[in-house]
């Protein structure tokens, strides 16, 4: 998981720095690595083949500047090609029609259609101030209709009743009429999950599209899908006039190669990403982020956004104020930091998103586990408030008590106190006048290197 693409590509291009140009011959091994990386990310094989050819055409003739490492140069080319293929960012939904504008959902079982309906309803209501009605034409899966009803109530959309005794087509036609009388701007029609090879079910959704004349027909695909993404996308695209794709469940650790497969095969834009279980977890699509992710290059932008969402701003501001008043960073503050970290899904998920983490020696990544931070949190929680505020009072017998209380040993407590001391020192530097600016300048220096990964430490 932690071997970075740029590292691997560098290996295949070793000994190339003397040569001036990339040629078909000297990049053959590198292209094999690119192919491998894409397959590991679950990009469909036919798409991989076309893609590798395109990268080859783009790379041959490129001059390797002596300043840049050829591997990184190559990653840049691959990344650029990926971004280009993924298309424009965030294509908005087309709502230019006589209301109620109809959005039809399609996809396999368990892709995430019903959840996406709720997220879209909320998105349209909140961001575009639309009045949204929803209806379920899934008369097969037990409680599918109830699921949509519950979600509709949660997101404040109008739920149009349907029952398992009705035919999906009848439900859809009735829903349009009802939505009209409700003066809804948008009607989202949820459908049953279906296999692309189930002819009867595909005919059903074709007839739904024919009757509803939706302005948007969105294909929902699970980000964890493997090679089958190509088959399925092709079958749905052949049967229906798709207008866009929603990539669901991107909040896991899947590399999401399905995004590239679906995009390449249908030619339809990916409009949204599902980024969590809650109804607000829907994000507009950004091609460069998905490209980085497929290449295993980390997703620093998503990380920043997640931090903004999850980090308790009030606590952060309180800490900043405290520091600026020259107060010390005490153990209570330390514990807050630890908790915020675990709120963001733990160190593992942070490391995965950071670019350059692939460069860390394998052992390092394994050493930082979330259990360690949990233990630190427990040790601090076993202290009295007085001890947390004034760590200097913690003497031998107090240490023994804390160790007993937290189920750890005295050396663990010592280690924690030492780590806290180091943090305190760092915080002091930051809070000193001009300290922050100095630090920021340092960081700028880093980014001027073109976001190059950290040097490998041995």
């Amino acid at each position: 998981m932690f071997d970075s693409l740029s590292d691997r590509l560098t290996n295949t291009l070793r000994g190339l720095s003397g040569k001036a140009r990339l040629t078909e011959e000297n990049i053959a091994d590198t292209l094999r690595e690119v192919r491998r990386a894409l397959l590991e990310a679950d990009v469909a094989l036919p798409v991989v083949k076309d893609f590798v050819d395109a990268v080859s055409r783009r790379a041959v003739g490129v001059t390797v500047s002596s300043a840049l490492n050829p591997g990184e140069e190559f990653v840049k080319i691959v990344h650029a090609q990926l971004v280009e293929l993924m298309g424009e960012d965030n294509d908005e939904l087309n709502l230019n029609a006589k209301p109620p504008v109809v959005i039809l959902m399609a996809g396999l079982q368990g892709a995430g259609k019903t959840t996406t309906v709720a997220k879209l309803a909320r998105y349209l209501a909140e961001r575009q101030k639309k009045k949204v009605s929803v209806v379920s034409a899934d008369v097969y899966r037990p409680a599918a209709i109830t699921q949509l009803q519950t979600l509709a109530a949660e997101v404040g959309a109008t739920f149009i009743e349907s029952s398992t005794d009705e035919k999906p087509l009848a439900i859809a036609e009735r829903a349009v009429a009802t939505a009209r009388t409700q003066f809804a701007d948008v009607l989202i029609v949820d459908t049953a999950g279906r296999l692309a090879i189930d002819d009867a079910m595909m005919a059903e959704i074709q007839s739904l599209q024919g009757a509803l004349q939706p302005t948007e027909t969105l294909f929902v695909v699970d980000a964890m899908t493997g090679q089958d993404a190509a088959n399925t996308a092709k079958a749905f695209n052949d049967a229906l006039t798709l207008t866009g794709v929603v990539l669901a469940k991107t909040d896991g650790d899947a590399r999401g190669g399905a995004a590239l497969s679906v995009r390449a095969i249908t030619g339809k834009p990916i409009k949204f990403l599902g980024v969590g279980e809650k109804v607000d977890a829907l994000e507009p699509f950004h091609s460069d982020r998905i490209a980085s992710r497929i290449l295993g290059m980390g997703d620093i932008l998503s990380l920043i956004e997640e931090a903004e969402r999850k980090v308790d701003k009030q606590k952060a501001q309180r800490l900043a104020k405290k520091m600026s008043r020259g107060k010390k960073f005490d153990l209570e503050d330390f514990r807050d930091q630890l908790q915020q970290m675990s709120n963001m899904g733990g160190v593992g998920s942070l490391l995965d998103k950071l670019p350059g983490m692939g460069q860390l020696p394998a052992g390092v990544a394994d050493q930082v586990d979330d259990g360690m931070f949990k233990k630190m949190e427990v040790i601090i929680s076993s202290m009295t408030p007085h001890e947390r505020r004034y760590p200097d009072v913690i003497n031998g017998s107090r240490k023994q008590r804390i160790a007993r209380g937290s189920g750890t040993a005295v050396p663990d407590v010592n280690r924690l106190l030492k780590q806290h001391k180091q943090m305190q020192k760092m915080m002091k530097k930051v809070s000193k006048k001009g300290g922050m600016q100095k630090m920021m300048r340092g960081m700028q220096g880093l980014s001027q290197q073109g976001g190059r990964p950290m040097p490998r430490r041995r």
Binding site: M224, G226, A229, K249
Partner: protein, 314 residues
């Protein structure tokens, strides 16, 4: 929904019907190899590699499979495509055969507790419902625990399955504590001498540490009155899943100790070739595969017919 006429086709027919599209992709390669007993050359091997990759076997496992065939090709033990095909089938069967294991509920413990885990949309609740039907047909007494307290209407979905099988469902509704629902169900089953508890859980992505911790807690709670519970922890895997299945098995196994797999949705175009990668990395019994929507379409896993169906039984 599916054509009723084919229901009598027997397991193999249904399986190979379900897997026919994989056969399409693997056999397209393999089938071409067979024509005229060609000599094995680079092209043949590349076609074979392609065919394996297309079913989600994954780069690493494909390399391993190919590597195991190459020395025999070099020594001329495999000198034509027919022999190559047979060797491949043997190789694949050998990988999966150890994972064949009948799913039998432990009759020693009353109740025998079976926990269902997996990512969102894998098919946990549906699988649970189908296994409930099987067990009811075998004359077992059952209680279903509606442990998915997060997803809207997950409880209602399970209740519908309970209703179909005339089996009691223990539920507290959406938003309740999953561990407490499951604990109640186990306690109630024990008090009444029920044979089996099938415990549903909310789908969760394996990278979410806090949700996995919650799942571990559900498991710990089950063991409170009977240290051997849960007796089975089934990971439900969508056949369409690509290489992420490896991470799913790793992390669910770490959190709750997976004892077996159920592979769902094999009746589509997805073929779960990733099972070969899973078998090489962290072998777990595969109890069932789902080859259709009907209750009888949840079948015990059989390595030979799986591989034969995959290779087109040439």
């Amino acid at each position: 929904m599916s054509d009723e006429d084919d229901k009598g086709g027997g397991f193999f027919k249904r399986l190979s019907k379900g897997l026919s599209k994989t056969r399409g992709s693997l056999a397209a390669g393999v089938g071409n190899l067979i024509l005229g007993e060609k000599v094995i050359d680079e092209d043949v091997l590349e076609e074979l590699e392609t065919a394996l990759l297309l079913t989600d076997v994954g780069v690493e496992a494909t390399d391993k499979i190919m590597a195991s065939l190459t020395p025999r090709i070099k020594r001329k033990q495999l000198n034509n495509t027919v022999a190559l095909h047979a060797a491949l089938a043997d190789e694949l069967k050998a990988l999966l055969a150890p994972l064949e294991k009948p799913f039998c509920v432990d009759t020693e413990s009353k109740p025998c507790v079976v926990m269902f885990v997996g990512v969102n949309g894998a098919g946990k609740t549906t699988t649970l419902g189908k296994i409930a039907s099987h067990l009811t047909a075998q004359g077992r007494s059952l209680v279903l625990a509606a442990g998915d307290t997060f997803r809207a209407a997950a409880v209602e979905q399970l209740q519908e399955w309970g209703h179909r099988n005339a089996v009691e469902v223990i539920a507290q509704g959406q938003g309740a504590d999953s561990a407490s629902v499951v604990f109640d169900a186990v306690a109630s089953a024990r008090a009444r001498g029920i044979d089996v508890v099938l415990a549903d859980t909310a789908g969760r992505l394996q990278a979410k540490a806090n949700l996995m911790e919650e799942l571990s807690k559900v498991k710990r709670v089950m063991a409170r009155d009977d240290a051997s519970a849960p007796h089975e922890v089934l990971l439900v895997l969508d056949a369409g899943t690509g290489q992420n299945a490896l991470s799913q098995l790793d992390l669910f196994d770490q959190a709750v100790g997976v004892t077996g797999l159920v592979v769902t949705k094999l009746d589509g175009t997805a073929k779960a070739g990733v099972l070969f990668a899973l078998a090489a990395r962290n072998p777990k019994p595969i109890y069932f595969i789902g080859v259709g929507e009907g209750i009888e379409d949840l079948r015990p896993f059989d390595a030979d017919s799986f591989v034969d169906a995959l290779l087109g039984n040439l």
